[in-house]
Amino acid sequence: MKRYVLRQLVQLVVVIIGISILSFGILYVLGDPVLLLLPQNAGKEEYERYHRLLGLDKPLYVQYWKFASKAVQGDFGKSWYADTPAFRLVLERMPPTLYLTSAGLVTALLIALPLGILAALKRHSFLDNLCTMIAVAGQAVPIFWLGIMLIIIFAVRLKALPASGYGTWQHFLMPAFCLGAFLAPITMRLVRSGVVEVMNMEFIKTARAKGVGERMVVIKHAFRNACIPVITVLGLQFGQLLGGAIVTETVFAWPGVATLAVDSIRNQDFPVVQCSVVLLALLIVSINFVVDMIVALIDPRIRVGA
């Protein structure tokens, strides 16, 4: 187990360094921040002065080192628009994003777990086929369109729910459903194939041969083992989930990190963009790490095999 944890930790550090290089690249390699900051009629001298002021005349690795050593301390520079540190701006927007992703994840699980297990236990039944069909169709629905249609139906026509914003539990319903519907199809299919695989294993047959009741077989023997692929997949899906959250946030004007990032991209406010990209990526990496650890704890094959 120790060796496994160590190896995963090394991998984690390498990935984090990779993320920092990529997000450094967004600002410094692709665009010229001086051109964005200065008015268009600025002279050459002024350009040079700002160029030096921002440290852009130094070699790239020096610039990267400066960026990385500051970023580790939570200093991503000040926002070019609001006169506040980018890090604080992004942190303030973090809780709504976390609430939304958790709510979306729970919704997805509420849909996917029972349907996936049922479909696996009654393979090739009408219910199974129906679930597969819904899942295939669900994967093709663009969630921003789903969000708009939900707003049209529930907010505009029925006036039952607020169209956008944040605060009460009513504000949560549509975004959470939207995000859940985005994640549920793929989760359901993975739960189904996980359970199917486990149900065909020898130890299930043994349990049945011992005379264990079918309900106990499913709950105690099958489900616990089927949890392993499900948890792994959910961890890997977290990146997807955050991607979906970005889309959902923009549709429902949810005051999270994603709307902040999208607004900052429109305003070309690069410190904020950089900071939110780094923090979201760090969130995904650390959740993946935790998931790996949990799976290794449940499943001895992984830590021994590694």
Partner: protein, 306 residues
């Protein structure tokens, strides 16, 4: 000696019925049924592609022609609609059906072109990683992990905000971002193939590494690449439409399903049809591509796990 009670035996029989492996006939029947779905999907896709290619001849109106007098006309089957504008008109009186037909061009071009970029990139990296193993493998897989943990939607938005929105930039960004999925699958398959006799023989014959990878291994992976590529086209189409929806993709007045949806969102209070039909187009296109991809998978390689 009777080990099982009568009850237990009945239970076992029922259980057996649940988990019994399907017979060969059942399997081929199911494959045929899915193939039928795939063929139907392919026919619909052909229709969509055909109408996009033949757009200038099929579209009843110029997609950019403004007609303020007929603005916000509902679809023909609703009250106030005219048979002239089958799907109605938008806020400045442009014919929605014509814009839909032309809009499909953008989605399909971006989808196919960027999948070609990411497939070539991902396959090459996957082949190299799987074939050489060791450090090369480690480096490539770390790159895969970094890319997968990056909040890709934000990255794409940031890059496009810097480079400026245009068709080529969009193809480039979406193409660069999609490679890890190919690399993961191709790497695993290459690792398995590497040990087979014909590769050992090729090496003994003195073939170069490049020739073995491209001439001996790659042909065995064509079906896997085709299936992933097909399914990825659908993903790219959804992403492209989201970027256009946010106003960071194809710029108006050029019609694209995504930016039509974005424009329609403003008018959804009274004129829901402007947003509804491009959304439906995205949904149907991705659905038929997914169905076709699934059928292709069954047809080309029933054992492939994706």
């Amino acid at each position: 000696m009777k080990v099982l009670s009568a009850e237990g035996e009945v239970a076992l029989k029922e259980v057996d019925a649940v988990i019994a492996a399907p017979t060969a006939a059942q399997v081929s029947l199911r494959r045929l049924r899915r193939l039928k779905w795939g063929l139907a999907a392919a026919a619909i896709l052909l229709l969509i592609v055909g109408s996009a290619v033949l757009a200038p001849w099929l579209a009843p109106f110029d997609p950019l022609a403004v007609n303020i007098r007929h603005r916000l006309a509902p679809p023909a089957w609703l009250e106030g609609g005219t048979p002239q504008h089958l799907l109605g008109t938008d806020q400045i009186g442009r014919d929605l059906l014509s814009r839909m037909i032309f809009g499909g061009r953008v989605s399909l071009i971006v989808g196919v072109a960027s999948v070609m970029i990411s497939a070539s990139l991902g396959v090459l990296l996957g082949l190299t990683a799987g074939y050489f193993g060791g450090r090369v493998d480690w480096t490539v897989m770390t790159l895969v992990n970094v890319t997968l943990t990056f909040p890709f939607v934000l990255l794409a938005l940031a890059v496009i905000a810097v480079l400026g929105p245009s068709l080529t930039n969009m193809i480039f960004v979406l193409g660069i971002a999609g490679w890890p999925i190919y690399t993961r699958v191709i790497r695993a398959e290459t690792m398995a193939l590497r040990e087979r006799e014909f590769i050992v023989a090729a090496r003994a014959l003195g073939m170069s590494h490049a020739r073995i990878m491209l001439g001996q291994i790659l042909p065995n992976l064509v079906s896997a690449i085709t299936v992933i590529g097909t399914l990825q086209v659908a993903q790219v189409i959804i992403l492209e439409s989201f970027l256009s929806f946010l106003g960071l993709g194809i710029q108006p007045p050029t019609p694209a399903w995504g930016n039509m949806l974005g424009e329609g969102r403003v008018y959804m209070l009274n004129s829901w049809w402007i947003a509804a039909s491009p959304g439906a187009a995205i949904f149907i296109t991705t659905l038929v591509i997914n169905l076709m991809g699934n059928a292709l998978r069954d047809w080309l390689d029933p054992h492939m796990k994706l």
